[in-house]
Symmetry: C2
Subunit: 890 residues, 2 copies
Amino acid sequence: MPRPWIYYFGNDKADGSSKLKNLLGGKGANLAEMVNLGIPVPPGFTISTEVCTTYYDQDNQYPEGLKEEMQANLAKIEASMNRKFGDLKIPLLLSVRSGARISMPGMMDTVLNLGLNDETVQGLAEAAQDERFALDSYRRFIQMYSDVVLGLDRTRFENLLEEEKEKSKVRLDTHLKAENWRSVVKSFKDYVLRVTGKEFPQDAMSQLWGAIGAVFNSWMNKRAIEYRRINNIPSEWGTAVNIQAMVFGNMGNDCATGVAFTRDPGTGDKKFFGEFLINAQGEDVVAGIRTPQPINIAGKTPENQHLSSMEEVLPECYQTLVEIYQNLEKHYRDMQDIEFTIEKGKVWMLQTRNGKRTAQAAVKIAVDMKDEGLIDKKTAVLRVDPAQIDQLLHPTLDPKAKQDIIAKGLPASPGAATGQVVFTAEEATKCYEQGRKVILVRLETSPEDIHGMHVAQGILTARGGMTSHAAVVARGMGKCCITGCETLQVDQEGKKFMVGKHVIREGEFITLNGSTGDVILGEVPTVEAELSGDFGKLMEWVDEFRTLKVRANADTPHDAGVARKFGAEGIGLCRTEHMFFEEDRIGAVREMILADDREGRREALEKLRPMQTGDFVGIFREMKDVPVTIRLLDPPLHEFLPHSEEEIEQVANRLGYSVDRIKAKLESLHEFNPMLGHRGCRLGITYPEIYEMQARAIMEAAVDLVQKEGYSIIPEIMIPLVGHVGELKIMREVVSVTCEKVLKEKNTELKYLIGTMIELPRAALTADQVATEADFFSFGTNDLTQTTFGFSRDDVGKFLPVYLEKKILPRDPFVVLDLDGVGRLVQHAVDLGRKTKPQIKLGICGEHGGDPASVTFCHEIGLNYVSCSPYRVPVARLAAAHAALAEKKD
Amino acid sequence: MPRPWIYYFGNDKADGSSKLKNLLGGKGANLAEMVNLGIPVPPGFTISTEVCTTYYDQDNQYPEGLKEEMQANLAKIEASMNRKFGDLKIPLLLSVRSGARISMPGMMDTVLNLGLNDETVQGLAEAAQDERFALDSYRRFIQMYSDVVLGLDRTRFENLLEEEKEKSKVRLDTHLKAENWRSVVKSFKDYVLRVTGKEFPQDAMSQLWGAIGAVFNSWMNKRAIEYRRINNIPSEWGTAVNIQAMVFGNMGNDCATGVAFTRDPGTGDKKFFGEFLINAQGEDVVAGIRTPQPINIAGKTPENQHLSSMEEVLPECYQTLVEIYQNLEKHYRDMQDIEFTIEKGKVWMLQTRNGKRTAQAAVKIAVDMKDEGLIDKKTAVLRVDPAQIDQLLHPTLDPKAKQDIIAKGLPASPGAATGQVVFTAEEATKCYEQGRKVILVRLETSPEDIHGMHVAQGILTARGGMTSHAAVVARGMGKCCITGCETLQVDQEGKKFMVGKHVIREGEFITLNGSTGDVILGEVPTVEAELSGDFGKLMEWVDEFRTLKVRANADTPHDAGVARKFGAEGIGLCRTEHMFFEEDRIGAVREMILADDREGRREALEKLRPMQTGDFVGIFREMKDVPVTIRLLDPPLHEFLPHSEEEIEQVANRLGYSVDRIKAKLESLHEFNPMLGHRGCRLGITYPEIYEMQARAIMEAAVDLVQKEGYSIIPEIMIPLVGHVGELKIMREVVSVTCEKVLKEKNTELKYLIGTMIELPRAALTADQVATEADFFSFGTNDLTQTTFGFSRDDVGKFLPVYLEKKILPRDPFVVLDLDGVGRLVQHAVDLGRKTKPQIKLGICGEHGGDPASVTFCHEIGLNYVSCSPYRVPVARLAAAHAALAEKKD
């Protein structure tokens, strides 16, 4: 028998289950699963994702047999609800919702109350004994359907509603009466006729097909594509459509609707956490138009304590809900995000899914559930997404800093953020491109704002609750977010917001504390993240499963210290050029560059050497007994010279050179493509005295600590930008001769390694040859990406955004390692390098070393370690554990 | 039995033969071979190249057993000559010469008259009945030995000789008497004692070992290394040492010495061609110190007709020599370069080897020998070195141009050259690096001048004959050269030369005609090379053996015409950007760049379109019925904008824009690394309208010629700088939609191909993916070399010379394809591309397409064609034939 297109659920029996998530989407699979668990769910059916993919494969044609299956399943719903679709007396109304494999909040469109028309609305009114409710539902339906299916501008309907309110001198929707709603319905329908030239569709079946088509089409709308791009979701997955009998949370005060999490999605605390609204439809809660009430007494905060909780006003329903949520969490062994509606005292579950959570919550929930025996250690480790924990690793506000708190909102997504105020996503993007940090301030956010939220440091909205669009999306992104800050008056046109006596204009700085909801004037200093407690526990488990070592890129003793705190097992990249820029030595560096001959350069280098030795002593001391890889000088020399007229003059005066001499040197050092120019080991080859000085400084520092303080150090000296084994051979000779000289002078022995960056395609392609002269390889994937793609990282801004928009590239290759191109090259180099030297030490020190997907790749090809920025070390550790566990599973 | 270290030859019997060239070196093998042929050769032996390599492998220690073998072989010589080495009465004297596999003229050191000392010199005087001769020989020996073995400055000896001449008021060496020579010998020996603290070695055996060591050591001297670098000779080959009984050309007027070629090495004419000197040693001829006499009457020229030929003065010896040379040429089936000495009427052959020749001579000799039945067609093709024929393809002096001839010398190496006068190799190199063309003017050249000769356009010397150092080396290099221009007074210190009333200073232009010996004042225009006659015949044979197609890179109808004339079978790369720079269109190009939006760009592009169409009509017409690959716009747009203040103002006025607008655009287009920036298909993706215009122009041009003139054209449209298949997919869509539109408008059908450059490592690494969207690949090895090495071609001058000097890179990878790196990548891409599309058309259009070694590689990996500059097309054709023949041999 061929697989059906449609899967029914209802009355304790479902065709599907949570196992069919790819076919039914997350929502459909969970609805089926809930039914199987005996949880009350309005009956309905799921049109599978295969229908969506077939629909797109067949140029927007539905597959054969779909219509018949739908008729049959619709009949089952009618039987179960004892109502008939399109019936004039007791009409069955339907909701139509999308549901992809992975929840895409706000991305896909939904139609509620489908089946209403000029006649069935009367039947609903009679059945519910509430004409006002029926007409309100009808106008909601017209509005939604016109927006989602007919593609009309939603704000025009809102304006028509505002007109009615003004005419009736009423401020709130709830104060409108049945006659008002009738008038609104008429004006809505008139508007549809005027704009589309056709009457609003009255046939229920046509409405249903229209809505299904709209869901499928919305899979390819711009917002959905954008969301998938950001979240790496392939468009081939498709969406399912869930069609379900409507139940009503807005049929009176014994009705309600709400959303809840089985644990606190912000902190991970084990407490039932949610919001609801009496006499409302689900959309009202999520859209953040009314500030919702807490679901229980425990959920009360200073901000919402004036509102009654469901525990208080609907205690029986609350109790049912508690039983259901406990049942669900036990079943799914994960924190659930549920939606429910109460229709005349009966609780209906509309949805359950694994709840999105902050990184902090993810860690706490994973650790707690392990401790509760719900999950094992491996599962706990796998529960925390490496991409997410970054937010735990960044500084929070310095508690000792003075904070001028000007407003308080809901702590929707924790962390701290400082930036310049902007009011639109466009402005946020523009500033981001200029390298500025911004806080996006909105009345409320909508899916159109996604790209702005993506680039902002933090998000502040005047409206919306903890489950509003802004809150959910920000938590998913790991961004600091404050919602429902109702004292804010946002004047988007005027590019300012007012709060109390303050007027904050675009470009002014504010600071958000996403953990408290505090909005603070100006910039506030921050302190480092705490890495103890649950996080520490989890990271201990992580290290039990991980086989890939994690080092850090650190150039100073301070960074080295941070790196160790974050669990770094060594330094994979210590860039010596940063040391050259420091105030007390840049003068000597410039003397060296401006010298006319080797002797002059040596003289200047001798001034630098004691300082370099000091640098290395500091770093070795900090990294005591773990390996440190030091890269010799890499950037082109002109980077160390002044460039502006003023600076040139200053430097000339300080060094006692003529301005012309400096300018002449600048001229002679000018390059058309400095990225491909005189840098890296090319400097070492033309000016070996530089590398000699550095090698001496490294060895003297190491020997000193070994001799006087009993350290055990094996310095790893790294030659940059090697493309040909001949370069490495000469540099190895220069460095090792110097090292041996130092050892002889100090009358001691010390093991040291000399290796190379693999950051040019030629080095990778000839890694078998390069390996003959290298004790280790470190893949410099930043440069390797530049040369493999032929992309200058500094110039890519002119076309890379277009590439991402047009989906030519799935992701920014400077962030996520390009496996097809650069990855193949790295793999190739690993194979060749090991062919020559099976035991060669292999690592990566590009920024990809801290990207989870790239870490997985590094694990798979068998590197010894990744090295990344200190703050990304725990991310890499977790990603490495995930990779090791995934491998075991295979 | 182990292989001996030493091989004897003499008395019609030799241990070796020409088959043992690798072991005995060219000179040793040919001496053995001559002995086997019954030709009179002074007896001697060859110390094999294995001794040299063993010597270097063992840290300058001779192998065991060598000494014993030498004693034995020395005894054989003594027996054959009936003289004893070191004997006081009839001393045997020896020559010690180097001899590598390939002749390295002037590169290796030689010692003559070895065995002379204060006592044996008396024996020699008595044996020769000529004290003056014996003392002259002795002083020559001291001078040579001191220079070569003891490392003393040769000019100091020359000065001592000059002192003696001044003291004796004598101008020529030949006028010095025995007593003068005795005094010179004394002053030489005193000088040696003074400088070295030791007496000049008197023991013959010590002298011999010293000389052998000097030969081996000279293999690693700077000049030898430089020569090997330029000529791609591996240092592992080593040199042999030839030790041979001395015969004397300077024992009186029945003695002579000379060098000759069995055919004219300049023109290839089948005539015995050579020079000799009566009463002289071989070194006197080669060093060019005395202007030598022609060997025969046929060799007389207006310049040397006052000198008697050997045919006239030593007719019997001449006849013997003629018989010997005919014997040798018949045996070796190639033109021979021979050295001989006549001692008291007896002809001794000192050397024979395949003669170096100009390209013109190589072609003529190959064709003639084929016609004479000496060699077959294949051998004829293989006899001409592809790297050499370049010189046949360059312009010669325009015969109609006025020529102000200021001097006439020997036409030592044909061709024409114009450049600024320089007087030292250093200055030549300096000017070359500044991109200036120079003529190197010297009194005479020496091996120290090699690097200067290499970079000069041509060489002019005041002294020396057709076989002088300058002449031999220049012919080998294929450089225009005039020697023996004795009217020149060269004042190197004063940086000028005088000739008649003219004073030519450094930096002034002169022109050389290497085919006539004319030295011409100023710059003279040139005309293209003739490609008919023998050359045409040879190239026909070439095409019989070749399987690789050869196309040309040509951007204009004129270049296309030249390319066809040179035998191009299509255009492999037509760069459209050069068209954009032309005076009549750069304005529209700039309008396009400065436009604010797509509409503005389209408007400007519409102005360009008819001109582009015209460009393509012209090129298609010229290439009628052979394929043309057109590359769409590639360079970054800022290249088309003015950059200087003055130009910016002009352009602003002309286009009616503000200066600020142009500056703002320049600012926005500025890139840090334009090579890796917004260019190639990245332009096509961000501004598809540009590629649309170009695609339309190509198709309209093609359709027009097909419809109106019955051409059969299959345009090949090439997308540049693709790194990811997604780029090609989008560009293919843009181009093919445009092409189809044109075809629909014109109501016709036309096949066209859309392909891509493979010029980024990522494209090569993912060629399997790229091939899905490509009808052909063209390897852009210029850019591929840049990105694979991470070398900016524009900036590489700062370190590449050091790389070549330090032998990190064997050759400039922009000239000769780097097989280990870039070659592996190309090979990989070929494999991947064919995996996806077995029939995909593959070519190369980097400058390597005209380099013989790279062409061989392209043949080996099975490319369909190479494309190179029109002038290199015959080089590529010949190289392709060589590659095909080499393959058959395997």
